[in-house]
């Protein structure tokens, strides 16, 4: 038996669910296939919730800026789910002169793309956020950045797409994409065969093995990153925080808990038992980092930690592209740990690609065939 829709989406994460929503909204029939038992089980539910433009590569910055102008402000109303979007700025903190040089470089590149981001000194940092320690000597400040709740955003897209008629199947492992008469047509799973006019492949690192079944390779690797969450605290500050060193990032949620991500420096060699398990070294390391920047949080209780895989592209920005050699196939993967903030934009762009419409943004810098050897 084969199940048919105009578009078959492989991957039930925030990208797949967003694409399903924007397609279903236009009346296009959609099937979404998710390998695990849960919708949004990968990086979609395991990220820091940043909705940020500053610090982004100029190739993907327009996607972030478009989403913050046009999609994020009304997303809760559109989906009927409070996605807890707050546009209250992003501080990227520096503690040394070297940090300030890194921040200056990021700021110069972003302002060249028309983004309102500027360098501020320690005094101004503490006027914006009085909880930051004196070790912070400056920051880059982007007032239009913010954060949202990734769990509710992902499940909100899922819920609304499902209400609009999109079909979702979890527990379906995709084994292969099969061409018929030179065009991507069938998606073979361990249980069934699905057919679509267009196939969107958006399942993180796992996209690589599936793309290989039609002879396409996306040069990426996966890396486990970790995060922790505190008990609910009285409201302290609303900005998203990051650091020049990238040693931690996070924000206080609407619920009151703080979500912080960070690294132990041993991510490259993390024991990969396939379970997205946390290491005993990382969370304490994140705690030490946080306490240096925000001493007042030393008494906050940690209630939970988690790990998740990033799909890291060799050149640091995602692939969002039609595939010339495989007509009908669209790939969106290798988001490199900053896919959540641009997910609504990517979902919209994917829906436009699948409907053969002109996309609202130029995607030529994110093509699948941009990778070249050094010599």
């Amino acid at each position: 038996m084969s199940k048919c829709a105009e578009v078959v989406i492989i991957g039930g994460g925030v990208i797949g669910c967003a694409a399903a929503y924007y397609l279903a909204k236009e009346g296009v029939s959609v099937i979404v296939l998710e390998k695990t038992d849960n919708i949004g089980n990968g990086a979609s539910s395991r990220n820091g919730g940043g909705v940020r433009q500053s610090g982004r590569d100029p190739r993907e910055l327009p996607l972030a800026m478009y989403g913050i102008r046009n999609l994020w402000p009304t997303l809760s109303e559109e989906l009927g789910v409070n996605v807890e979007y707050h546009k209250e700025g992003n501080l990227r903190l520096g503690k040394t002169e070297h940090h300030m040089e890194i921040l200056q470089g990021l700021t110069d590149r972003a302002t060249a793309c028309g983004l309102d981001v500027r360098m501020i000194d320690g005094k101004e940092v503490r006027e914006i956020n009085p909880y930051l320690s004196d070790e912070v000597i400056g920051a880059s400040w982007c007032p239009t950045d913010g954060h949202a709740n990734p769990l509710k955003t992902t499940l909100g897209f899922y819920k609304r797409a499902r209400e609009l008629g999109a079909k979702f199947y979890s527990g379906e492992t995709v084994l292969e994409i099969k061409k018929i008469k030179g065009k991507a047509r069938q998606v073979i799973t361990d249980h069934d065969i699905y057919e679509g006019e267009h196939i969107i492949l958006a399942c993180g690192y796992e996209s690589r093995a599936i793309a290989a079944t039609v002879g396409i390779d996306i040069p990426m690797r996966k890396e486990l990153i970790e995060a922790l969450v505190t008990e609910a605290e009285p409201k302290m500050f609303a900005q998203m925080l990051g650091t020049a060193d990238a040693d931690f990032y996070g924000h206080q949620t609407e619920h009151g808990s703080f979500v912080f991500g960070g690294a132990s420096g041993m991510e490259d060699v993390n024991k990969d038992n396939g379970m997205q398990a946390t290491s005993s070294l990382t969370a304490p390391c994140i705690c030490r980092g946080i306490m240096k920047y925000i001493p007042k949080l030393a008494d906050a209780k940690i209630v939970r930690t988690w790990g998740g895989y990033e799909d890291i592209c060799t050149d640091g920005v995602p692939v969002i592209s039609k595939i010339d050699e495989v007509p009908g196939l669209i790939i969106a993967c290798a988001f490199t740990g900053h896919g959540f903030g641009i997910a609504p934009t990517v979902g919209l762009l994917l829906s436009q690609l699948a409907m053969e419409k002109e996309t609202v943004l130029d995607l030529s810098a994110l093509r699948y065939d941009r990778f070249k050897a050094v010599i």
């Binding site: 695990t36 038992d37 849960n38 919708i39 949004g40 089980n41 539910s45 769990l151 509710k152 992902t154 499940l155 899922y158 819920k159 499902r162 209400e163 079909k167 979702f168 199947y169 979890s170 527990g171 379906e172 492992t173 361990d190 249980h191 069934d192 505190t230 008990e231 619920h255 946390t278 005993s280 070294l281 969370a283 304490p284 705690c287 030490r288 946080i290 306490m291 949080l297 030393a298 008494d299 906050a300 209780k301 940690i302 209630v303 939970r304 930690t305 988690w306």
Partner: protein, 109 residues
């Protein structure tokens, strides 16, 4: 190989009940009605209900309400509670202050 879960199958309509106001997750104050409604909105697993409503995300980490939430989801889906996978358990076992957690290694001050 996991079971295929068709999220569009007919589980019947959401019918309000008298005890919908009963609090099930005490830490996050989530009611039975909210959980039942979430199932009808497509949240078919404990992890999904947890991520959508915050059940089991408070101080006790679901050690109190986990089984109750599971049985409510099972009843709405008309399946046995044994078919519903438990939510993922996560370190630390008990809430722990950041300044204590930070001292996991002896050499760290």
């Amino acid at each position: 190989m996991s079971e295929v879960n068709d999220r569009s199958r007919d589980i019947g309509p959401f019918v309000p009940a008298e005890d919908d106001d009963m609090i099930i997750c005490r830490c996050e104050e989530i009611t039975k009605g909210e959980i039942r409604k979430a199932v009808h909105e497509g949240m078919y697993t404990l992890n999904e209900v947890r991520r959508f409503l915050r059940t089991g995300m408070g101080l006790c980490q679901g050690q109190t309400c986990g089984k109750l939430v599971k049985s409510i989801i099972a009843r709405e889906l008309k399946v046995s509670p044994a078919e519903i996978e438990p939510a993922t358990s996560r370190a630390p076992m008990r809430p722990i202050e950041m300044k204590i957690f930070a001292k996991e290694a002896k050499e760290v001050e």
